[in-house]
Symmetry: C2
Subunit: 171 residues, 2 copies
């Protein structure tokens, strides 16, 4: 990621990334399907953790509460990563291809959350909507967390976005 | 679109599309930036109509009500297009590149709606959330409308999805 930040994502080749990481190009492609994927390493683990949180939510939790459990579960993950996340996001925001990949990841995450909610007996419409609301909350909270001059944590921003969402939905 | 449906999107070349439409390839590219874009012709006009509806919503309409006005404004557009929309969606669903383009369009639409809400004096967080909820409602309603055996119109499905969204947000 230092390479992407210093020289620009477009100008950095897979050969250079692999070299910096002490890998051959062949090994690189065993770990990542392409150059874009490096920036999204770990997203599969995050998704698994979120799905597990939905599965483990109390049986009487509402669909939205179960989806929120997924966001609360991963809030901790971001704790020490603010400077890293800022640099990473600046790279993504500067490149439409990377923004596309990011949107794909979030769309896939939304489908997985909706599926986990369905497994809890939630109707399809409500599962889809709860998952989409959780993704909207996550995106907004993440943006606010990145730029927060007061350095409040991700959990604070997730809860604050949920509060706003409820008030918007009700009005 | 008949070409995409009959031979498959991947197998259809720009030359073939242009020929069928009575255009040269050069003229084709004056109208569409690429092969994908043909399927999203008209999306700019829809976006403009939706933004206008937000701008024209009553001054005392809530952010969500103003965003819903955008969906109600375009519901009419879909009336005669169900068979066409079904064929179009089947092509998109069969191709990851087209799904990516669709997601990009919806993301851009969400940004435009949020911007129009901001112009009404809505705070940034609430504008973003109301726009994202409107997009979630639109996606769900469109899917339900496409497959509705009872042939109920788009407006019915938009309102039904809104009702579900409110109940999920409240629970």
């Amino acid at each position: 990621m230092d390479l992407y930040g210093g020289r620009g994502y477009e100008q950095t080749t897979v050969a250079e990334i692999a070299k910096r990481a002490g890998l051959t190009e062949r090994t690189f492609f065993r770990h990542f399907s392409d150059k874009r994927e490096v920036l999204f390493a770990g997203s599969h683990e995050l998704e698994q953790a979120m799905v597990a949180a939905v599965e483990e939510a109390p049986a009487d939790a509402s669909p939205l509460a179960a989806a929120m459990a997924a966001l609360e579960r991963i809030a901790e993950f971001f704790a020490e990563r603010r400077p890293h996340s800022r640099r990473r996001q600046a790279i993504i925001n500067a490149n439409p291809e990377l923004q596309e990949r990011e949107r794909n990841k979030l769309a896939s995450l939304s489908v997985s959350l909706a599926y986990a909610l369905r497994e809890r007996g939630v109707s399809e419409s409500r599962a889809i909507l709860a998952a989409e609301m959780a993704i909207a909350i996550f995106k907004l909270a993440f943006e606010r967390w990145l730029e927060d001059a007061k350095q409040r944590d991700m959990l604070y921003h997730v809860r604050s976005a949920l509060k706003d969402l409820k008030s918007v939905a009700l009005s």
